[in-house]
């Protein structure tokens, strides 16, 4: 199954990846190869099979809502590329 250039553009947009033309060509080819390989899953009739969502039995985990020490605002912001007045700074949105 070959991915069209339009599909690659669409997926790159959804994934928020600004790909170069070379990357788009390469990924179209590689993803098509992988999807062809994945096609073999359709050899299996899974009509009656429940999807395995959780590998372990899962239960609600409840606990009292207690405030515990965590990272400070200063620590958290220290990894941000651009900060002003204790806030993240991004390009103009509106």
């Amino acid at each position: 199954m070959a991915l069209s250039p339009e599909e690659v553009n669409h997926v790159a947009m959804l994934a928020r990846l600004a790909l170069s033309e070379d990357e788009k060509t390469a990924f179209a080819e590689q993803l098509s190869l992988i999807l062809d390989y994945v096609e073999r899953l359709n050899e299996l009739d899974t009509g009656e099979v429940e999807p395995l969502i959780h590998i372990l039995p899962v239960f609600n985990v409840l606990r009292p809502d207690e405030a515990l020490p965590g990272s400070s605002q200063e620590e958290i912001l220290s990894n941000a590329p651009l900060v002003e007045d204790g806030q993240y700074k991004v390009p103009r949105i509106i």
């Binding site: 997926v11 990357e23 994945v38 395995l52 969502i53 590998i55 990272s71 941000a80 991004v90």
Partner: protein, 487 residues
């Protein structure tokens, strides 16, 4: 005395006997690193200053035992407070976490000393460390070969004598495959056995924290320390953690061991098949009952993994937006461009490939055909294992279809590269514990044998692995730089 050659237990004995100090160990390891690191290229960051400080502090207290005063390494996707954590990605090249992963915190509380952060394929996506944004690590058995991946830096460092053990993560074989290539022990515990808090997420329904060590006994000691419920990780299991070391009695008499015929096909080389069959005969000699079984859906595990892992990765990596941490494109005029340019510049080719594949598989109209289908196949794979474990205590197979390949040999061949994981991926898909231990040398390169156990039965896994080790010498073989064996 070359302390860098010793296991955790040997170091512990010498510390307790007062023969050496923790500073002696740190000194020996840094001397060893100075000699081999140029070739091994295992470390992204060395923590010299803090390691010396911790060793001095522990020596002043003068009490030893367990891992107290013993250095360890971490795959560089464990968050370490105040120490750079890169995930081997340009995206996080300068990221310094303000918190500590639970697993490393538990080691630190027991007096373990972090010596450095180890190389990996970017965000743990790869089988050779050639996808590291910084440099590839190399295999101490032959410097022209890969150490495996994604935890290749950990495996290279442990095998080269740079560190006695390391913690890593395993999503589809990332601990067991490099352990196999480098001739050491690599354990992926049951899904949920060890907290993943503070460990960069790749595929959340598959990821598990585990251990690379020089022998099974060390592995058992460390698992006891890091396993258990963690309030910070809702997926960690609230199931009792046994004293794993107590199960290591060298006995496998009466143990029922299955070997799945499918795991001896799938491109497995003749010499690896022979080596693992020979190991199975050893188990038989020791009194185990060994029988062939079938895991009929095995061949579908890898194609299902191709969907599940990238799909989950694409959502996990959506958090990298250039705003709160990580690489930011400084030129973008609007927010949308800032997202897509930052991500395009910060992520390497393999990560982008998987984000694209995962995004496609989850996109509107394709969810049922891909992700849902894969999750249904996943149930069939888990059911195969459950069926075998009704009659058997353990499943044994090769860890990898081949021994370590040459650097550059497979880098351009995506599908072949993924095939390295064909025998390890099903174990993650079923959430089971698996361990790789060395079981032979093939043309001077280590061969790994994989033992797979029931969920949360790491004790049986370690018991059998230990019995094999006690009756063979493969775990004692060590490479000399440039290839070969020196002991």
């Amino acid at each position: 005395m070359d302390l860098y050659k010793l296991t955790v237990h040997e170091l512990q004995d010498k510390l307790l006997a007062g023969e050496i100090s923790s500073e002696d160990i740190v000194k020996s390891l840094f001397s060893r690193i100075a000699v081999v690191e140029e070739k091994a290229q295992a470390f992204i960051t060395l923590c010299e200053e803090t390691a010396w400080e911790s060793a001095r502090r522990i020596d002043q207290q003068g009490e030893y035992g367990g891992i107290k005063g013993i250095p360890y390494g971490l795959k560089d996707l464990f968050c370490t407070r105040g120490i750079k954590t890169t995930c081997a990605s340009r995206m996080l090249e300068n990221f310094v976490p303000s918190y500590e992963s639970t697993a490393s915190k538990l080691l630190n509380e027991k007096g373990g000393i972090l010596l450095g952060k180890l190389n990996l394929d970017e965000f743990a996506m790869g089988s050779s460390t050639e996808q590291s944004a910084f440099f590839p690590s190399r295999n101490p058995w032959d410097w022209e070969r890969v150490p495996g991946g994604s935890s290749g830096g950990c495996a290279a460092a442990v095998a080269a004598g740079e560190i006695p053990f390391a913690l890593a993560s395993d999503t589809g074989g990332s601990i067991r495959q490099p352990a196999s290539y480098c001739g050491i022990v690599g354990l992926k515990p049951t899904y949920g056995r060890v907290s993943r808090w503070g460990v960069a997420a790749f595929a959340s329904s598959l990821d598990q924290v585990g251990i690379l060590s020089r022998n099974v006994r060390d592995c058992a000691l460390i698992l006891k320390i890091i396993a258990g419920k963690d309030l910070l990780d809702a997926s960690s299991a609230d199931i009792e953690v046994p004293d794993y070391s107590a199960f290591l009695d060298g006995e496998v008499k009466g143990m029922r061991i299955a070997y799945p015929r499918e795991y001896f096909r799938q491109g497995v080389t003749e010499s690896i098949r022979t080596a693992v069959m020979k190991a199975l005969r050893k188990f038989e000699e020791l009194g185990a009952i060994v029988e062939e079984v079938s895991l009929p859906h095995s061949e579908y595990a890898l194609p299902a993994y191709f969907i599940v892992a990238p799909a989950e990765a694409s959502t996990n990596l959506a958090r990298f937006d250039g705003v709160r941490y990580g690489w930011r494109d400084g030129e973008a005029a609007n927010v949308a461009d800032m997202f897509s340019l930052s991500r395009a510049q910060g992520f390497g080719p393999e990560v982008k490939r998987r984000i694209m594949l995962g995004t496609y598989a989850l996109s509107s109209g394709y969810y049922d055909a891909y992700y849902l289908k894969a999750m249904k196949v996943r149930r069939l794979i888990a059911a195969d294992f459950a069926e075998v474990f009704r009659d058997f205590d353990l499943i044994v197979s090769p860890t990898t279809p081949t021994t370590a390949f040459q650097l550059g040999e497979q880098i351009d061949d995506t599908l072949t590269l993924y095939m390295n994981d064909a025998l390890t991926v099903p174990v993650n898909m079923a959430g089971l514990p698996g361990i790789s231990i060395p079981c032979a040398l093939d043309d001077g390169l280590p061969v790994g044998m994989q033992l797979i156990g029931r969920a949360f039965d790491e004790a049986t896994l370690l018991k059998a692995a230990y019995a094999f080790e006690q009756n063979t010498d493969y775990h004692r073989l060590t490479p000399v730089p440039g290839g070969g064996i020196n002991e």
